[in-house]
Symmetry: C2
Subunit: 338 residues, 2 copies
């Protein structure tokens, strides 16, 4: 397997972005977000996503110079128009604004409308955690999944991110509302494997672990069945209302071409700084001891191990820093040629 | 099936609470929360829960006179000590405080520690929605479910509530992080039925729909497998940190007797008033049109129907107002004798 160093990957993505007219500063920030996603094992939204991101720029769907503009502010709640700028830079900006508000006031809430695909949602959770903040954020998406009880795609997978800072390794959850992504279905099919648990319905309406049947029926499963379906719908509505932006319905209606992902969406970023409101009998050790408690759970399988969200991310990061980041050679070649 | 009118149920619960020393006002508020849970179909946390609630009072675990005391406030973020008062009154108080902050400032966030079981979480979502606010709230609980990869109970089911106001029927999701409650397992077993989808593991570690096997193994399934497990862990930590209160670990350690539920827990309440930050191109019709869009999804089954979270709640409420609330005769008799 080919591996590329973190620095090389970041430099190469930066070069591509500069070639499209990004400023030095924004090319660096944007390349860092992509390279860090791959570094931490989220390959689908790291290097692998760069060609598509550049394609959207070339087609005029992403305005590389746009920055979020504050359209309303009410104390610790602020609302921005993303002006269809690069989704990861927009999201990073808004989470930083929420963190800055939290550092002053304990909590900050920032909503963003009219933005683009934020790429890896976990980035903004880690961003908050690295600065000692609890982070919560989510985005809506165009529809990609049938709501519970339907066979027609009408809700997004609306990733939801929660982060808790911890010196010995932060706890960061980045979950989409589908049990599996279409990317995961494809990878599993190409390996001739079954999904570890049911991932959708086959064309006869039966739950199945066979990825090809699900790709055919397009009935991907909401995580937790009716629960993920409902959560997805609510996250979409709240993001759109708080941001004053589009919901999934409008994203479906106004997308500039079939298959375009994340165009014009709405997002919410919440940060809380526990140190501003420190106190309480157990605050300081609380997270460490909760992690210990979780780790002590008797594993279901011999040699099994219970881990917290983000624990393997930190391990992957370390390994990829040392050994280089594994890349698909065709995709790496494609980026080199962009 | 025996049915009891809403007014009769509320009056009877109120009588019981007065007999335990509640003030007139608090007895009325608390009885309303219980009766309304049953009215809206959440029987497990309505009338059926009253005997246990009264038992906790009689044992001294719930202090009926305690009211939340503000221990810290930083602008739109406030933190309260629930002083082990009645969990539903404490939660109602804190959501109201979040709503009041939102009415003034657009957003309000209130954290509560040292409280008791909040009974039906959806109550506080409906509370926000009835006042035109978006509501988000969650609670931690003592552990009742193994984290993903474990067979030992170490995480709570930590209900999470999201609400969006809508004139033609608000959208309210009230979801625990377990796929099914132990109550649902019991009811299904007594009917000699299978669960509609896998609900846990049997003693051999296989996913199963058989409720008795799950009750035996005590390996109830987190909703969405690893996703619900991770979400549960994060919701617990965030509630405990923001409230400066106990996490699931401490709730396990310090519970006053085995099986006591909700004692000393931590909760978060967030309200957003969209009218304070009104604007955006599609805000006014957005929710109605999103509901229409969802309803238009082609059903998976003939005569099927896609509904939004809270839609059936409103139907049940209307039906139970007209016909009376169905009650288990033994439980009703028990409450009459309290």
């Amino acid at each position: 397997m080919k591996r590329v160093s973190f620095d090389t990957m970041q430099a190469e993505i930066r070069r591509v972005l500069l070639s499209r007219g990004f400023t030095e500063e924004r090319a660096g920030e944007c390349a860092l977000l992509f390279a860090e996603a791959s570094l931490e094992g989220v390959y689908s939204h790291g290097l692998n996503r760069v060609p598509r991101f550049v394609d959207y720029i070339d087609k005029g769907w992403v305005d590389i110079h746009a920055v979020p503009v504050k359209v309303e502010g009410a104390g610790m709640l602020e609302r921005y128009d993303g002006k269809l700028g690069p989704g990861n830079l927009n999201a990073r900006f808004c989470m930083q604004r929420a963190i800055d508000l939290a550092k002053e006031n304990g909590v900050g809430m920032v909503a963003l409308r009219n933005t683009n695909h934020w790429m890896r949602g976990g980035s903004y959770g880690w961003q908050a955690a690295r600065q000692g903040c609890i982070g919560l954020c989510w985005t809506n998406t165009e529809s990609c999944m049938p709501p519970w009880g339907a066979k027609e795609t009408k809700v997004g997978n609306n990733p939801f991110v929660l982060a808790v800072p911890r010196a010995a390794g932060s706890i960061v959850l980045d979950m989409a509302m589908s049990q599996f992504s279409y990317g995961k279905l494809e990878v599993t099919r190409l390996k001739n494997e079954l999904l570890p648990v049911d991932g959708g319905f086959d064309s006869e309406g039966k739950l199945t672990r066979d990825p090809a049947s699900i790709e055919q029926s397009m009935r991907i499963l909401p995580t937790g069945y009716w629960k993920g379906s409902g959560l997805s719908f609510l996250l979409d509505l709240i993001a759109a209302l708080v941001a004053g932006g589009w919901s999934t319905r409008q994203m479906d209606e106004f997308k500039p071409a079939p298959g375009v992902s994340g165009y014009g969406g709405s997002q919410v970023f919440i940060a809380v700084d526990p140190s501003v409101i420190s106190g309480g009998p157990f605050t300081e050790e609380l997270v460490d001891r909760a992690v210990d408690y979780l780790h002590q759970a008797e594993p279901a399988e011999d040699n099994g191990r219970v881990s917290f969200p983000g624990e393997r991310t930190a391990q992957t990061r370390q390994q990829n820093l040392e050994l280089g980041i594994p890349v698909d050679e065709a995709i790496w070649q494609k980026v080199l040629e962009l």
